[in-house]
């Protein structure tokens, strides 16, 4: 596809959608949203980019391979459970700190892991199907 409008638009859209996805991820604990929904939006953004510029370009913008995204997401999610070791409680027990009126905790980190993983999964599937 060589439409300049689409390309320019997609670049902009990628940025906007990524921003939206992060927003959905972060507000998910209090409002509808969360890692899964955020991840899907972000993946949609990259997929769109892939349609506009081709799979290779999308892979390039992504920096990490989908496989690495999946692995990283999984590791983040699991590690978030290990923070409980510090308070000598059981696996996945939430650990919270307050930073400038903002509650930050390991469940949020867990959601971040879900977010990365979902991006990786969706992209891996779509890339595989597109290039097959």
């Amino acid at each position: 596809m060589n439409s300049v409008i689409l390309k320019t638009g997609t670049r902009l859209l990628l940025a906007l959608l990524l921003l939206l996805s992060v927003f959905l991820l972060l507000r998910g604990h209090n409002m509808p949203g969360g890692g899964f929904i955020g991840g899907l939006v972000a993946a949609a953004a990259f997929a769109l980019y892939g349609i506009a510029f081709g799979v290779e370009a999308a892979r390039y913008v992504l920096r990490l391979s989908p496989q690495q995204l999946i692995g990283t997401g999984l590791i983040i999610a699991i590690i978030s459970g290990f923070f409980a070791l510090f308070s000598n409680t059981s696996f996945l027990t939430g650990q919270w700190i307050t930073l400038a009126n903002l509650k930050l905790g390991t469940p949020l980190l867990f959601d971040v892991g879900v977010y990365f993983l979902v991006i990786g999964v969706v992209l891996m599937m779509i890339f595989a199907l597109e290039s097959a």
């Binding site: 692995g71 999984l74 059981s90």
Partner: protein, 499 residues
């Protein structure tokens, strides 16, 4: 303490995640994978020791108390199952080092193998019904991938069969959970057990049938076993071995859990039903084995037949019956998986899986012959190997329960089992080879022999030193019979409160 319960799930999961993210070099993958399974084995030992010492262990994930959070529970049965997973996971990982070629490794064999182990352990150790569903799906999807990895034609054909039937059963399981949740408002198995006691027995038993079917598919009982013989012979033998060792055992475990803890409202109906299913499973399985001429298919059908014996132990609903079931599960995991591994070696040394194309391995590969002999005759229930005790206990339990027809079926099946094991033995080892032996495979096959020898040693050990194993199984059985113990261990002080 609570971490000990998480480790059997987390160790393979972390391994899988790391292999996912960074696993490009296969040699490194292999070693990491090997080390991880070793840790898993050690954890299993530790867990079993701890449970044997302290009784049922419970951990609340996220520190949310039961029944609100998800409980991980290890009673003796769970701990034994986790240990067996460790043993088999370890042995098969060693075998897989050589058996799984670089191509499949590149496609992701190792991470998926560990996810499978995590799913299996998760299913054994969770105390929450919906969580059980999740672990079932984890082990299912990884079994799907392992089964079709490499994607050759037989695999695809078997894979379609396996995947579609199992997807159906998963949804059935989910339906059952939904209905049970609607009935009780809870998902924690101990809490469920407590609440189900106060509900109309008819409705509960009807729901129980849904679980019976859903778990029955996983356990491969009659007439729900079709996926097993259609697919088990297609992937590399390392994959089949871990399937044969653990996958259907998860189903059996789930049946045992459900029909000792949750659904004991009307054993006169449900457990009688199980007895019929057990008899038909035993018989159709062994008939299937008698009809086959491919080693892998014979072994696959045997798995079904042997699962019948385990269900028979459950159906008898007595201490001795449960002991027999536990013995059978342990024995069969070890022996059947090893036999599949042996089948893989027969293919390498003899060039085929087909009985008519094989021969002469007794002279050419005496070590393989000895290993097969020990394992096959253990499977056929010859004394003093582990299979003999398993059979003896189940039959005695049947006699004590006066289920004579069931005992008669199991005896006839025992004879047919001998028949089909000797069929392999005579064709592969005794019969002279029809054609020239295949060219020796490059490289040493010792890594393939080692795990089999180790496992054969285990079946010998269980046979010769049965007492400690029996005592362990006896305690496990007594925990299963006394479901109040499980409930109070999980729910603690809630026990007095009204549902």
């Amino acid at each position: 303490m609570s971490w000990l319960l998480v480790l059997p799930i987390i160790i393979p999961l972390v391994t899988a995640a790391v292999l996912f993210a960074f696993g490009k070099r296969t040699e490194w993958q292999k070693n990491f994978s090997f080390a991880s399974t070793l840790f898993l084995l050690l954890t299993g030992i530790l867990l079993l020791v701890q449970v044997a010492k302290d009784g049922i262990l419970v951990a609340q994930m996220g520190s949310w108390r039961a029944p609100f959070g998800i409980s991980l529970v290890a009673d003796l049965l769970s701990a034994i199952m986790v240990l067996i997973t460790g043993v088999m996971g370890f042995a098969i990982a060693i075998y897989a080092r050589k058996d799984i070629g670089p191509r499949l490794e590149h496609l992701g064999f190792h991470p998926v193998y560990h996810v499978l182990l995590a799913g299996i352990n998760g299913a054994f150790i969770t105390g929450d019904l919906f969580n059980l569903y999740v672990w079932f799906e984890v082990l299912l999807i990884s079994s799907f991938v392992l089964l079709t990895l490499g994607g050759n034609k037989a695999q695809l054909k078997g894979g379609v069969h396996y995947v579609l039937i199992n997807l159906f059963s998963s949804l059935l399981f989910l339906t059952a959970i939904g209905i049970l949740y609607g009935l009780t408002g809870t998902l924690n198995m101990a809490d469920l057990a407590r609440q189900l006691a106060g509900l109309p027995a008819g409705l509960v038993t009807t729901v129980a049938i849904l679980f019976l079917i859903a778990f029955g598919v996983k356990a491969a009982v009659f007439p729900l076993f079709f996926w097993l013989p259609s697919s088990y012979h297609t992937p590399p033998m390392a994959t089949t071995a871990i399937f044969a060792a653990m996958l259907s055992k998860v189903g059996v475990y789930a049946l045992v859990r459900a029909f000792t803890l949750l659904f004991t409202q009307d054993p006169g109906y449900t457990h009688n039903l199980l007895a019929w299913i057990a008899a038909l499973t035993m018989f159709t399985g062994v008939l299937g084995a008698a009809a086959q001429t491919d080693i892998r298919k014979i072994l696959s059908f045997h798995s079904i037949s042997q699962i019948g014996y385990m269900i028979m132990g459950l159906a008898l609903f007595s201490s001795l019956g449960f002991i027999g079931a536990v013995f059978y599960i342990v024995h069969h995991s070890i022996v059947k998986a090893s036999l599949f591994l042996v089948a893989g070696l027969i293919k390498r040394e003899g060039g085929s899986f087909e009985l008519s194309e094989l021969g002469g391995l007794y002279k050419r590969k005496p070590l393989l012959a000895v290993l097969f002999l020990i394992l096959a005759f253990s499977l056929a229930g010859f004394p003093p190997l582990s299979g003999f005790w398993a059979k003896l206990i189940v039959i005695r339990a049947g006699l004590e329960a006066e289920a004579y027809w069931l005992v008669a079926v199991s005896l006839v099946v025992g004879l047919l089992t001998i028949y089909s094991m000797t069929k392999i033995w005579q064709a592969v080892f005794w019969k002279p080879a029809e054609s020239e032996p295949v060219k020796p495979v490059a490289g040493s096959l010792r890594p393939l022999y080692m795990p089999i020898a180790g496992l054969a040693l285990v079946t010998l050990m269980i046979g010769f030193f049965a007492q400690p194993f029996y005592v362990l199984a006896e305690s496990a059985a007594s925990q299963l019979l006394n479901s109040q113990l499980y409930i109070s261990s999980v729910l603690g002080d809630l026990i007095g409160a009204k549902p």
